[in-house]
Amino acid sequence: MSSLRNLYQFEASAFNPIFLEGSALSKNFVIAERMATNVYDGAISIKKPGELSAENEAIVRQIKAMRLLEDNWDEEGAQSIPPRVIESAIRWVHRADALDVTIYLASPGPNQEILLMVKEDDREIEIILYPDREIYLKFEGCTFVEQSDMKAVAFSDLLKWVAL
């Protein structure tokens, strides 16, 4: 177990100190307090520092696959996604992952954009990345809360809103 020290980060969904017999484990592992939204209760994921979580890695694969979308990919006139938008989306996933946040979904849009969503209960942040602008929107249920430029706010502050 000591060989794993400083190499792996341990993330326990809905950490139960009795179940994990907590204190001994906590000497060797970091127990995250936040619950990963797309990991089933009780699941445990292990990742090396600097690596993406399995969930964010899957999101990155989805984003990379958007390179294959050609003009009219939705048969309703959608445009292909430029490489720089794909690269930007991947960078935002890495930034979110560094803050221990899981991207809930990634979707291509019809106007060369990519939508990234962060979600916690009924609070959702949409990050919409166009070739010429990057914006975010906050929603609480069906209620629109705010729209602004991604440059207008620190990313970590923005992400805190969903966890409040």
Binding site: E76, L105, S107, P110, N111, L115, Q147
Partner: protein, 130 residues
């Protein structure tokens, strides 16, 4: 009703046809639409293309291709609440190359305002298909 007329009945319903392959416009976990499904295409010039429910049927609105498309229902009340309009815009074979007497436009949606697409996506009801 003639082309260009505004639809003022708040209870009027519209079908929005959404591409469903690979669930690109749909949240795979909840099955709900995401905002990109309600974003006008470049060719639409800020208007969302929909069909007036009472002038069509599900099969026609799906372009008779349920494998590729799914329908969302939008109520005019939600459109009017956003400060935008629903406009009757029927298509004819002679003028447009295809017939669609139910076609309407919702707009105008300014390109910089993403909230409208997000709200419509969250308020739309998906018509589940077998």
């Amino acid at each position: 009703m003639k082309k260009g007329d505004r639809i003022t009945d708040p209870e009027a319903c519209f079908y929005r046809r959404v591409y469903r392959k690979d669930k690109r416009y749909i949240d795979p976990r909840t099955g709900k639409f995401n905002s990109r499904a309600f974003t006008p295409r470049p060719k639409d010039k800020g208007f969302l293309s929909v069909d007036l429910k009472r002038l069509t049927n599900i099969s026609l609105a799906l372009n008779q291709d349920p494998a590729k498309f799914v329908l969302g229902t939008i109520v005019n009340r939600d459109v009017l609440a956003l400060g935008i309009e629903s406009i009757y815009d029927p298509k004819t074979l002679a003028e447009d190359g295809f017939d669609n007497k139910a076609h309407c436009l919702i707009g105008h949606i300014p390109i910089e305002d993403e909230s409208i697409a997000g709200i419509l996506a969250r308020r739309a009801q998906k018509i589940e298909q077998e």
